[in-house]
C-alpha cells in the first residue's frame, strides 16, 4: 500500500523511530542501575553491612611535634617528652560514670578530680575525647591497655609534651605552653583544628607564645577503621605532620645559668647583650619558677605561693620591670649636654654638696660635696650637683631626646611578653600624662635618673651597648630558624660626635679604674678584659624632712620593700667592646656594693667563656669571689658541638 506524500512527510516528522531508540537506551541505563543496585545491595550486602556495622572509618589528627628551642651553642632549652595519657569519649563510653569508676581502680584519682572530669565530659561534645589523666607511669598505662575491653571509650595514648630541661633558667624569656583554653580560641580568627585536640599545647607567654606559628608545625592525619566500640582496628592511611621549626636563640645556657645563680634568689634582673650584633646572651629574671609546673598543670597551692611571693617570681623583670635608672642615667644627661654644646670636655661645675634651685635644696649623695668637677670626674664620682647644673642648661627635651636615642623610652622588638616601653619624660609627655607644666625640679630629678624616668634592665643594657659602640644596637633573641641564620642588621651610627662618646666612655672607665671611682672595688684586673661601668642607686621612697633632720637612715635599717634599688651597667673590653651588661637588684641597696660585683662576675664569665681565672680579680676581692662561687650550684651544660661558636 502506497502512502501519500503527505503521509510520508508526517511519518518522517514524527519522532517514533528515534523515540523508541531513545526509550531503549534509557531502559538499558535503568537496567544497568538496577543491576548495579542488585549487586551492591543483595550480592555484596553482607560485606557492606559488616563495614557499616563493625568498622567505620574515622579521621584522626596527628598533633605535630613542637619545634625545639636551642641556645646559641645547640644546648636544648625546650624539647618534647614522651607522655602517657588516657582520654575518654562520651559517645563510645556509654555509661561514663561506670567506666570512670573502673578507671579509678587503675589510676589514682581524687573525688574532686573525678567531679571536674565529669563536668568536663558533659561540657564537651559526645564525640570529643576528654583527657582523664596525664603523665602516667608505664605500668599504669599498660594496665589500662590490658583492661581495654572493660573500658569502652577509653583510649590510652602516648603523646609528646613540652619539657624544659634547663628548669627555671629560661622560664621568663621562653615562657611555657599550656592546654588550649576557650579564651585562647576566642582570640584566634581561624583556629587550626589541631587546637581542638585534648592536651594540645599552645604557647602561653614569652617566646613560646610569640613564636607560636613557627614552633607549632603542621598536623598530620590518620585514617583509621574504628569498630562499633570505638576501638581502632587498623590504620588505613597516614599523612605525617610536620614538626615545628627548630629555633636557635642567641642565649647562652651556661651564662644564663651563671647569671641566675649569681643573682642568688634576689629580686633582680641581669641582661647581657653583644655590643656588635645585639645578640642577647642572657636575659635573667630572678627568682625563677619552674615552667614545667605550668605545662603539667600547676596546683593551686603552688600557684598561690608564686603569686604571693614578695619577690614576684612570675614577673619578667628584664623587660617588664621598670626602674628609675638612677645614676646609670648620667651618661644620657652628659651626652645631651655635650652634644648640645652646653659644655665640653673641659667644662667644670662646682659641687658644694647641694644646690639651691627655686627655693628647694637638692642634695648631692656626698654631703660634703665633690668640689670642682669635669665631665669625666663627674661620672667617676657620680657627682649629682654636676648634673643638676647641667640639666638646667640643657633642658629636659634634649635629655629625653638623647635617652630615646640611646634606647630608653623606646619599645624594642623582642619575641617576649609585655615588653615595656619605659619613660623618657619631656614637657609634652608631662602635659599629656599629668596635665601639668614641666618644673625645673623635674629636670633636676630626671638628670640623675630619678623622678619620672623609668627604664627596664633590657633598655639599660641597650643604652650601654650604644654608648660603647656608638651604633644604634637593637637586641635580638632569635639566631636561626630551622638552621637558617637570621641576618644581623648593620646598625646605623647614632650620630653622636665620637669625641663626646669618648668622654662618656672615659668617665665610665674612671668609675672602675680611676683612683676614686665609685665601683673601683669591682674592677677587672686582667688588662685584656678591662671594664667600664656606671653605678646607680635609685630611691624608691621620698626622704622626709623629719628623716633628713634625724640624719639619713642607712638602707639596712629599712624594711626590704623600702630600700633603694641597686643598679649597675658596664661593658668590656674597654678598647674593643664585646659585651654590655646591666644588673638591677630590687631593694638591693647601693649600686656599687651590690649590683657592681654581680655585673662584673657575669661579664667576666661571658668574656672567659666559663669561670674566669681568679687573677682577673683584684687581690682584695678574690676571697669573696671564691666564697661566692662555692655557694653557687652551677649547671653549665656541655654544648653538643666541640667548638663554641661565638660569632
Amino acid at each position: 500500500m502506497r502512502k501519500s506524500s503527505r503521509e510520508v512527510v508526517e511519518s518522517a516528522r514524527s519522532i517514533s523511530r528515534r523515540g523508541l531508540m531513545l526509550g531503549a537506551i534509557q531502559a538499558a541505563v535503568v537496567g544497568t542501575l538496577g543491576w548495579r543496585l542488585k549487586s551492591m545491595q543483595l550480592d555484596r550486602a553482607d560485606e557492606f553491612r559488616l563495614l557499616s556495622d563493625g568498622n567505620s572509618i574515622k579521621l584522626r589528627l596527628l598533633p605535630p611535634a613542637r619545634g625545639l628551642i636551642h641556645d646559641r651553642n645547640g644546648v636544648l632549652l625546650a624539647g618534647n617528652e614522651q607522655n602517657y595519657r588516657v582520654t575518654i569519649t562520651r559517645e563510645e563510653a556509654g555509661d561514663v560514670s561506670a567506666v570512670v569508676a573502673r578507671l579509678r581502680h587503675l589510676i589514682p584519682m581524687t573525688d574532686t578530680s573525678v567531679a571536674a572530669l565529669m563536668a568536663e565530659i558533659d561540657r564537651r561534645s559526645a564525640i570529643t575525647p576528654v583527657s582523664v589523666a596525664d603523665r602516667l607511669t608505664w605500668e599504669q598505662f599498660a594496665s589500662i591497655a590490658v583492661n581495654a575491653p572493660a573500658l569502652p571509650g577509653v583510649t590510652p595514648e602516648s603523646g609528646l609534651s613540652r619539657g624544659y630541661p634547663r628548669g627555671g633558667d629560661f622560664a621568663h624569656v621562653l615562657g611555657y605552653v599550656g592546654p588550649v583554653s576557650d579564651y585562647d580560641l576566642s582570640k584566634i580568627e581561624n583556629p587550626d583544628p589541631v587546637l581542638m585536640l585534648p592536651e594540645f599545647q599552645l604557647g602561653k607567654v614569652g617566646v613560646e607564645a610569640k613564636l607560636e606559628t613557627v614552633l607549632r608545625g603542621k598536623a598530620g592525619t590518620r585514617r583509621v577503621e574504628v569498630n562499633s566500640a570505638g576501638r581502632e582496628m587498623r590504620e588505613l592511611g597516614r599523612i605525617e605532620g610536620e614538626q615545628g621549626a627548630t629555633v636557635q636563640m642567641t642565649l647562652d645556657a651556661g651564662l644564663q645559668n651563671f647569671a641566675i645563680q649569681r643573682l642568688g634568689g634576689e629580686s633582680a634582673a641581669a641582661v647581657v647583650i653583644d655590643v656588635q650584633t645585639g645578640d642577647i646572651l642572657t636575659i635573667a629574671s630572678s627568682p625563677v619558677f619552674d615552667p614545667n609546673m605550668f605545662v603539667r598543670g600547676i596546683t593551686s597551692s603552688d600557684y598561690t605561693a608564686l603569686m604571693n611571693h614578695d619577690h614576684r617570681p612570675l614577673a619578667d623583670k628584664t623587660v617588664q620591670g621598670l626602674y628609675p635608672p638612677g645614676s646609670t642615667f648620667k651618661m644620657v644627661t652628659l651626652l645631651a649636654g655635650l652634644e648640645a654644646g652646653v659644655i665640653n670636655g673641659g667644662s667644670r661645675f662646682y659641687c658644694p654638696g647641694h644646690l639651691q634651685i627655686a627655693g628647694r635644696r637638692f642634695h648631692c649623695w656626698s654631703r660634703g660635696g665633690h668640689g670642682s668637677m669635669d665631665p669625666v670626674q663627674s661620672l667617676e664620682h657620680s657627682c649629682d650637683v654636676f648634673y643638676y647644673e647641667l640639666a638646667q642648661r640643657v633642658g629636659i627635651d634634649r635629655i629625653a631626646e638623647m635617652a630615646r636615642r640611646l634606647g630608653i623610652g623606646v619599645r624594642h622588638d623582642l619575641p617576649m611578653s609585655a615588653v615595656a616601653e619605659g619613660i623618657a619624660p619631656d614637657r609634652a609627655w608631662k602635659r599629656a600624662r599629668h596635665d601639668e607644666e614641666w618644673q625645673v625640679g623635674d629636670s633636676i630629678n630626671a638628670s640623675i635618673g630619678q623622678g619620672y624616668v623609668l627604664a627596664s634592665p633590657l633598655q639599660l643594657a641597650i643604652m650601654t651597648a650604644r654608648v660603647a659602640s656608638g651604633r644604634a644596637v637593637e637586641p635580638r633573641l632569635v639566631r636561626a630558624v630551622d638552621g637558617v641564620a637570621q641576618a644581623v642588621p648593620d646598625f646605623p651610627d647614632l650620630g653622636i660626635d665620637p669625641a663626646n662618646l669618648r668622654i662618656a666612655r672615659a668617665g665610665m672607665d674612671a668609675v672602675m679604674n680611676g683612683s676614686r671611682g665609685t665601683a673601683a672595688r669591682s674592677r677587672i684586673l686582667a688588662p685584656e678584659w678591662r671594664m667600664a661601668g656606671k653605678t646607680g642607686t635609685s630611691q624608691v621612697r621620698n626622704i622626709t624632712a623629719a628623716e633628713r633632720a634625724r640624719g639619713v637612715i642607712s638602707n639596712e635599717q629599712l624594711p626590704w620593700a623600702r630600700r633603694d634599688h641597686a643598679l649597675f651597667v658596664c661593658y668590656a673590653p674597654f678598647e674593643a667592646p664585646r659585651y654590655a651588661v646591666s644588673v638591677v637588684v630590687e631593694h638591693g641597696g647601693g649600686g656599687s656594693a651590690v649590683a657592681a660585683p654581680i655585673a662584673r662576675d657575669i661579664l667576666l664569665f661571658a668574656l672567659a667563656g666559663g669561670l674566669p681565672p681568679l687573677d682577673a680579680y683584684p687581690p682584695a676581692a678574690r676571697a669573696a669571689v671564691e666564697e661566692t662561687w662555692a655557694k653557687m650550684q652551677l649547671d653549665t651544660p656541655e654544648p653538643p658541638q666541640l667548638a663554641r661558636v661565638r660569632a
Partner: protein, 380 residues
Amino acid sequence: MTYLDYKVAQAPTGWRKILHLNWPLVFLLASVASAGFLMLYSVSGGRPHLWAEPQIERFAVGMVAMIALAFAPIWFWRSISVPAYVVCCIMLLAVDLVGHIGMGAQRWLDLGPIKLQPSELTKIALVLILAAYYDWLDMDRISRPVWVLIPLVLILLPTALVLKQPDLGTSVMLVAGGGIMMFAAGVSLWYFAAVIGAVAGLVFAVLESRGTDWQLLHDYQYRRIDTFLDPSSDPLGAGYNITQAQIALGSGGWSGRGFMQGTQSRLNFLPEKHTDFIFTTLAEEFGFVGTMTLLTLYALILAFCLHSALTNRDRFGSLLTVGVGGTFFLYFAVNMSMVMGLMPVVGVPLPLVSYGGTQLMILLMAFGIVQSAHVNRVRG
C-alpha cells in the same frame, strides 16, 4: 470524520483541559517527591523544619505552577522559545560577571527578593529552542552540516557560560540534554559516532593537559577524576565520601535498616546527605526494595513521557516532551551512577528528592510544559 474522531483529534479547550492532563504522570511525580520528603525528614534526624517542610512548601507551589502551565496553548511555548533562550544566556553572562559566590562557584543571580540559578532555567530554555528549531527545519536538511552546526552553537554557548561559573555537572547536563534532542529529531547517527570519537579524544587531552600551562579543568575537577578512578587515593576528601556512600548503599541489603535507622547518615559519615547523596540514605534505610521502587517510579515517569511523545503528532510538542523527559533521565541516572561509583562525582541532585527549591520548582515547571504538550497534543 466522525464526531468521535473529531473529539479525539481536537485539543480540549478551557477548563476541560484539566480532564486531559497526564494524571498518571502527576501522581508519579507526587509519589517520588513524597519519598523525598520522607528521606529529608530522616536525614534531618526528625527535625522537619530543616529541610522537609520547606521542600513540601516548594513542591506545592511547583505543582500549582505545573498545572497552571499545562493550560498554556502549545503555540505559546513555540513563541517564547527564542526570547527565553536569549534571556537565559544574558542571565548566565550576568552571573559570570556579578554572580553571587557560594560553595566555591558562582551560580546564583541575586535579583533582590529572589535568588535565581539561571543554569537551571537554561536547561528548559535549551529544550524549548531546540524543539522549535527542529520543528521549523525541513526534514531533508536535518543532517546537513550547516543545519547541524546551528543547534551545536545553541547548545555550546550556554554550556560555555555555565562551565565558566564553574559548574561541570550542569555543563555536562546541557550537552547531554541537547544531544538527546538532536538524536530524537533524527540527526544522522554518523554525527553521534563522530562526537563519541571526539569526546574520547577530549578526555585524553584533558588528562594530558594536567599540570601544564593549558590545563583544561580546575584542580578540584581533576581530583574528582582521580577519586573516581581510585577512591582510596584521596583519604581526606571525596574518596572518603564515595567509600562511605557505597558502604551506606550496600549495607541496606534487601529491606534496609528501617526508616530513620540508617547509621551511616546518622553518624554524619555521609557528605551532602540531604542533597546530592540522599539516595544513599534511602538505600540504607529502605534497602533494595526501596531503591528498586524509586528506580521503577523514575522509569515509569520516563515511560509516560515517551508514550505522550510518541502519540503526539505535533513535532514541537513531541520533541519538548522527549527533551524534558531526557533531562529528567540524565539527572537521576547521573546522580545514581555517581553514588554507586559508576561515574565521577559531579554535582547533580537526585530529581524531586534532593533538597533544593529552585531545582524542584523548575523541574515541575518543565513537567508543566510536558503537560501542556500532552493536553494540546495532536491526536491521530
